[in-house]
């Protein structure tokens, strides 16, 4: 029986096939899933903010899309993954409330998604699929074996990308 590894907010982790990896209730945060389809290793980063260089207190690298992706890639390489084969899927980045009062908070979900895509492009990792934006939370489960990303939301049918 395969295990499902759980990743919390502002955290990241990796797993080996046939295990899967999950994060529960993504809101404005973004979940970045990367796998090596040959080595069958994969991981998930749950980033809260887009850009570590915009924030003074940036010691927690997993909190940011840019440094979170960098660290996730390093971990996967250490597990035997090859950068040249990496592929990614992302989900989340919703706007949970209609208004957001602070300039820091404006479109933070959307900015998280943009920052993730930018970082993936920089690292030359192709983005295979995404399910982002809108106004609802998402629980996601990623399987490095197949690359399937399962998305569950309240009151909506399960989705696979």
């Amino acid at each position: 029986m395969a295990n499902i590894v759980k990743v919390g907010m502002a955290d990241l982790n990796v797993c080996k096939s046939p295990d899967g990896i999950t994060t529960l209730g993504l809101g404005s945060c973004v979940g970045i899933c990367i796998r090596d389809p040959i080595a069958k290793v994969g991981g998930l980063a749950h980033a809260m903010l887009p850009d570590s260089t915009q924030i003074e207190n940036n010691s927690n690298r997993f909190k940011f899309a840019d440094t979170g992706i960098e660290d996730l890639v390093k971990k996967l390489v250490a597990m035997g993954g090859s950068r040249a084969r990496f592929e990614a899927k992302i989900a989340g980045g919703a706007q949970m409330f209609a208004f957001q009062n602070k300039s820091d908070m404006v479109r933070v979900g959307e900015r998280n998604v943009e920052a993730s895509k930018k970082k993936l492009r920089e690292l030359g990792i192709p983005l295979k699929a995404q399910d982002t934006g809108l106004n609802y939370g998402r629980t996601i489960i990623f399987y490095p074996e197949t690359g399937d990303l399962i998305i569950r939301s309240a009151g909506k049918p399960e989705k696979k990308i």
């Binding site: 919390g8 907010m9 502002a10 955290d11 529960l24 209730g25 993504l26 809101g27 404005s28 945060c29 809260m48 903010l49 924030i55 003074e56 207190n57 010691s59 927690n60 909190k63 919703a94 949970m96 409330f97 209609a98 208004f99 957001q100 009062n101 602070k102 820091d104 908070m105 933070v108 106004n135 609802y136 939370g137 998402r138 629980t139 309240a154 009151g155």
Partner: protein, 206 residues
């Protein structure tokens, strides 16, 4: 945002102040809730907790638990936001008492949403009033915005606001007791400048 104030240096004091304000605010909110429901409502001593982001969902009863989040912006002498979170069934229970109807099933309808917003308005308003009275600062809450979703998805909004400054979130858990216990959480998010104003108004200098 005031870049010259290091959040980490003042964190302990900041949380102590928020905790104290939280205690008093929760008392006021309980009174408001009792008046609104025209019933006797008691409150257990609020628990104030400082939690790491990755643990907060589990501590509050499960990351995927359905909750109602009511989110208001705050303007005036201080700026920031406040969120009130309660379990969906508790929200449903409050709405049905307020409207004198049996609790419905499924998603909230329009009328329930507007009743829920009103409840959030009254509870958070009572909260903010006590802060305004203590600090003598003008605090103007915006119209509330409401979202019903998984706990962690709702919490991502305040967590991101805290995330700009640190790696933890401050929760004020308030259990209102009536026939049944209603678990509610307040999350106060003044920005850094407002924080020094609040401290200053309370006679603490940093």
């Amino acid at each position: 945002m005031a870049e010259n104030i290091s959040f980490q240096k003042v964190t302990t004091e900041y949380y102590d102040v928020l905790k104290e304000l939280g205690n008093i605010g929760a008392g006021n909110a309980t009174t408001a809730l009792a008046q609104m429901l025209q019933a006797k409502v008691d409150m257990k001593v609020p628990q104030v907790r400082l939690l790491d982001f990755k643990d907060v969902g589990e501590v509050m009863g499960g990351e995927e638990q359905m909750v109602v989040g009511i989110y208001l912006a705050v303007e005036g002498d201080i700026t920031g936001s406040i969120m009130f979170v309660l379990e969906q069934h508790a929200g449903r229970d409050l709405v049905s008492r307020l409207m004198g109807m049996p609790p419905a099933e499924g998603e909230f309808n329009e009328m329930e949403i507007s009743a829920m917003k009103e409840i959030g308005n009254i509870i958070t308003g009572a909260y903010l009033n006590s802060i305004a009275m203590m600090t003598n600062l003008k605090i103007l809450p915006s119209v509330p915005d409401l979202s019903v979703d998984m706990l962690n998805a709702i919490l991502s909004v305040p967590a991101i606001e805290f995330g700009i400054m640190g790696d933890q979130i401050l929760l004020i858990q308030t259990v209102f007791t009536d026939d049944v216990d209603l678990n509610g959480y307040f999350i106060l998010m003044p920005d850094l400048e407002s924080y020094s104003k609040m401290l200053g108004a309370l006679g603490i200098s940093i």
